[in-house]
């Protein structure tokens, strides 16, 4: 007896099918992404308008133009929660057993999730660009640097997606994910250059803030697009572009293999 004949396909094809699965989840349960968007939009409104009048940007310039690149980056950061929750939901259910008992590539769950995250990140960036334009943010140096900024955002999201997969694999259940993500993500976004320039923070806090990966990408986007609030005179501030590439690459180097190992260990 032979089964229904299979056509050849590889790990990439399986990963792509899995990407489609996660994107279909967004279509079938759009509430999640709507709630997800409410956070950055709220940050723009609260910080841009409520606190913004009392904020000053070193070197001058509008606070909202200073803020928007940081909000882009923060949105990527909070995506870690969506990733980890989705993975924790999958590992907590029987559906993972089915995937693992099928002749598909084992990596497909991870590659599928990461690709779906990147697709989501593109959509999120598009929405936030529109929001940014509405509140007065502009790119001053043309399309090339803008595209490079989007590239940096996607690179950061890729790194955070790997971290999210690892987190989802170690989380005992989906409910604990948000309890882990928030205390992790909040200080990362608060002690950064997203809302306040590091040189306005007390000594050591400013240093931590400058070296924060969130700050690196934010500063790089400000620099690329001619937005105000560039720090200066410290190595980290002078090399934000380099750090905006180095940090995500380092995170991927750590969390990519870690995720794969954690996923393989599930069967032991």
């Amino acid at each position: 007896m032979t089964g229904v004949r299979a056509e050849r396909g590889g790990a990439l094809a399986d990963g792509w099918v899995m990407t489609g699965r996660y994107l279909r989840h967004v279509v079938r349960a759009p509430e999640e992404i709507v709630i997800y968007f409410s956070l950055p939009i709220m940050f723009v409104l609260v910080f841009g308008y409520v606190f913004g009048s009392g904020m000053s940007v070193p070197g001058g310039g509008g606070y909202r133009e200073f803020l928007i690149p940081g909000v882009f980056v923060m949105t990527m950061l909070y995506g870690i929660g969506a990733t980890a929750t989705a993975i924790a939901v999958d590992t907590g259910r029987g559906v993972l057993d089915r995937f693992r008992s099928m002749p598909m590539a084992r990596s497909a769950l991870i590659t599928g999730r990461v690709l779906a995250d990147l697709s989501r990140a593109l959509l999120e960036t598009a929405v936030l660009l529109a929001c940014g334009l509405l509140v007065g943010w502009r790119w001053h140096h043309g399309a090339g640097p803008l595209l490079a900024s989007i590239g940096l955002l996607l690179l950061l999201r890729l790194a955070l997606s790997c971290a999210g997969v690892a987190l989802g694999l170690v989380a005992p259940n989906p409910d604990t994910v948000s309890m882990i993500v928030f205390p992790l993500a909040f200080p990362l976004s608060a002690v950064s250059n997203v809302f306040v320039a590091p040189e306005m923070m007390p000594g050591w806090l400013g240093t931590v803030s400058e070296w924060n990966p969130i700050s690196a990408t934010t500063a790089a986007i400000r620099e690329l697009n001619g937005n105000p609030g560039l720090g200066g005179e410290t190595w980290a501030a002078d090399h934000s572009l380099l750090l905006a590439v180095a940090w995500p690459v380092a995170l991927i180097a750590v969390f990519g293999p870690l995720s794969v190992r954690l996923y393989r260990r599930l069967g032991r």
């Binding site: 007896m1 032979t2 089964g3 229904v4 299979a6 056509e7 050849r8 396909g9 094809a13 399986d14 099918v17 899995m18 489609g20 699965r21 279909r24 989840h25 079938r28 349960a29 259910r93 029987g94 559906v95 057993d97 089915r98 995937f99 693992r100 008992s101 099928m102 002749p103 598909m104 497909a108 069967g267 032991r268």
Partner: protein
Amino acid sequence: MQTTFAVVAERLRKRYRGGHGATALDGFDLRVPAGTVYGLLGPNGAGKTTAVRALTTLLRFDAGRAEVAGADVARDPGTVRERIALTGQYAAVDELLSGRQNLVLFGRLHRLSGPAARRRADELLERFGLTEAAGRSAKDYSGGMRRRLDLATSMIRRPRVLFLDEPTTGLDPRSRNQVWEAVRGLVADGTTVLLTTQYLDEADQLAARIAVVDAGRVVAEGSPDELKAAIGADRLEVVVRDADRLSEAAAAVARAVGAAPDADPDQRRLRVPVTDRVGGLTAAARALQDAGITVADLGVHRPTLDEVFLNLTRAAAR
């Protein structure tokens, strides 16, 4: 005709690391003839699920050898995965997707082309009576529908061996019958089914052979009839009306059939094996009548699979 085995397990061992370090499989042996339904019967924690997870490549075992659908589980898990399907204790479907999307997704992951996956999905929806519910999210399905979707998903590639881990746990009787019908249909198509269950009637209904599992090993194996026969003869059962007179009744029955019965004071019941059904029954009736004991119930019973099961697992516990 020579019997071929769809599943062979030899002296499987698995000890869970960390925590309590319990031995889940302790020299587990199994031979499942191809084309049959085989039942793994045992209480919770007996090792049934561990055995299924080991045989379906989900869990590495520490020692022993296993072969499923002609492929070695440890050395060639990829081939095993191509030839089997698993329906676990918890419906293994994507809750957010519709029934049809689920079948198409798993079809694609089985490397069917898009059109082929959609065709197969429609065939299976039809066959498992889910055509009307095809567009609804699986999370809105009833328990029975979800299990049927789960079974349909397992049938996408027409597996040689289908593993069903407690397929009807938590289902109402009607849904349970639907699942049983589906399983019988699959076997008629030539699939071998390895089924775990805590329900004796389920094993009795479906399985051609049964292995009773306890503490990580098979403690008895055979057809349901063989297992019932192994536990011994028919049993004479007496229920007296008056609990006070149970020991008196026990003495009377012992004299009549020549063996001391087991007494259960709570149920006011005596049980004793008899070799001669009719002779034993009339002798006991006469003895009880002579002793002037009022009987609430009197009869001779074939042992149930329940008794077989309790007997075997109790023996293993000693």
